[in-house]
Subunit: 329 residues, 2 copies
């Protein structure tokens, strides 16, 4: 099986490449080749048991999605996107990267595989930002698409296109609505949701972190580990089981900021928690208020997608995977 990943230099793309290199397989298939595409140079995973091609380019530019699909990969992970805060501030850039890239990729698949009997699986990372308030207490799988950000709008449109291209038989698409990935490793990015990770990651590393919202803000989380499970499950599941509704809300953990902090205190102690500084930010608070916080992802659970049971687990996974087991004292 040949695999292509857009956003190959991003958090999930990079981790997915390493995950695939470590296993050498995806489901029942041995991996023959991997292509990583991003606007900056993606890092090829060390010691991959298959050839890795690293492409850099501007995904929505003419010809780039064709170049990505040059080797006719059977599996495409379309992870490339700019994050919610940036898409909200830079309207044109958001539509170009988050919508036009998707449109071009779908068109490249449609034309590039027109003669192929077997259409590629395309896993599209959507987002819970496709949903906008007001919400019921727990959001069902069939809640309507009511995004309140440009990012959410772009993802919702991606879902609709994916479903139509799949229905027409041009490809075999599955959209997965990711929870906020927490704890995000690395540096803070422009995502409005960044603080959910910052308030755990930075204190664990000995740094201060800013909390811009009240502690009663609830949110829907999954770890980077869980996200790997979502992606590989979405890649290997029988598409027929999804019928015409090709996008699934992924399972997550609904916790308040206060519960996050309490978990951090249990796992890492008082001193770590004291590194969180309150600095209310109205723009962030307003964006987050439009986001959903709790779901009933019955379809995904029935289809075998899984997530952590407690936020303590999420913190411990981060300490193991990113900090070599050590908390900054």
């Amino acid at each position: 099986m040949k695999i292509a990943i857009t956003g190959g230099a991003g958090l999930l793309g990079n981790r997915l490449a390493r995950h695939l290199a470590a296993s050498g397989r995806l489901g029942d298939h041995e991996i023959e080749a991997l292509t990583l595409f991003d606007v900056v140079e993606a890092q090829a995973p060390a010691a991959a048991p298959f050839p890795v091609t690293v492409l850099t380019g501007d995904l929505p530019a003419p010809g780039e999605t064709d170049r990505l699909l040059d080797g006719r990969p059977e599996m495409i992970f379309h992870l490339a996107a700019i994050v919610s805060g940036e898409a909200e501030q830079e309207f044109d850039k958001g539509y170009r990267i988050n919508l036009e890239s998707t449109q071009r990729l779908l068109e490249s698949v449609r034309h590039g595989y027109a003669e192929s009997a077997q259409k590629p699986r395309l896993v599209f990372t959507s987002s819970i930002a496709v949903f906008g308030a007001p919400f019921p207490e727990a959001i069902p799988d069939d809640f309507h698409l009511t995004p309140l950000t440009s990012y959410g709008t772009q993802k919702a449109i991606g879902e609709l296109l994916l479903a139509d291209y799949t229905r027409k038989g041009f490809l075999d698409g599955i959209g997965i609505r990711l929870p906020t990935i927490c704890i995000r490793p690395g540096k803070p990015n422009k995502a409005a949701s960044g603080f959910f990770s910052n308030i755990c990651r930075e204190p664990l590393a000995g740094h201060e972190a800013v909390l811009p919202v009240p502690e009663d803000v609830m949110h829907w989380h999954a770890s980077p580990r869980a996200a790997m499970g979502f992606l590989t499950r979405a890649a290997t599941i029988d598409g027929e089981k999804l019928g015409n509704r090709r996008s699934l809300t992924m399972p997550g953990l609904a916790v308040t900021v206060g519960e996050q902090i309490a978990a951090l205190k249990r796992v890492a102690g008082e001193k770590v928690v004291a590194r969180i500084k309150r600095a209310p930010d109205e723009l962030v608070a307003r964006i987050v208020a439009g986001w959903p916080s709790r779901f009933e992802p019955k379809r995904a659970l029935a289809l075998g997608f899984t997530v952590e049971k407690t936020f303590d687990d999420i913190i411990r996974a981060h300490i193991e995977d990113e900090l070599g087991g050590k908390i900054a004292s």
Copy 2:
């Protein structure tokens, strides 16, 4: 008030132009000028008390939506579209006309009115085809967007874009999900829903008509007269009342084909009804099976949108408006 209409040569565009010419006003505003745009030459309404400009062009071609907005109309009716059957058969054409035109129009408004304090109202004709089966018995306003046709997908994407551009303050958009317009005057078109009108209009005019589906097929109808009410109501309503959810399911009449035929028999007699010939068509039946048939349009009803009470009323309106009161014997 200056008004622009895309799809000005179409059924609704033409009728709306005549309606506006007859009244000279839209809500509280005297009409100063009207621009009709279509790919074929639209007919300027006779004796309009304001200047009418007729533009022909390919709406999604570069510059055309700018040309449409040259006079900075305060009211834009975006009615241009190709119908469901054609969009299903001609994939590229459907996306170009039904999606790209909308994207270009929204961008032209965004840039063309950037310096204007007052943003134009944009009324977008969406469709109940944004919803796809399986359905509850009556579809609520907050049913999720699950189109099962490319046409429905294109309309759903238009709704999402309209909401995002409105939220960002670039324009003041309202989407109205039209029922099937019945009885459609004129010649049959490529809409898969065409037969709902054909089986009434043709027999009333003395011609045979083909019924491609079983009599128990239920559908959601409104007359061309009712559609004029929807458009003018959507043009004049206070946008604030819609909040962030900018698209409304319009009221309609849920009747089966059998009930349509019974109404036709009551209004026009046995001889007229005998002109309906059964000729099952699987493609049409499959498309129609994915369509919704009954709604609970609570929001639109609360906002003052109205529709006929019986299908007999719909038939009588057609006989008055289109046949000068005469049924072919």
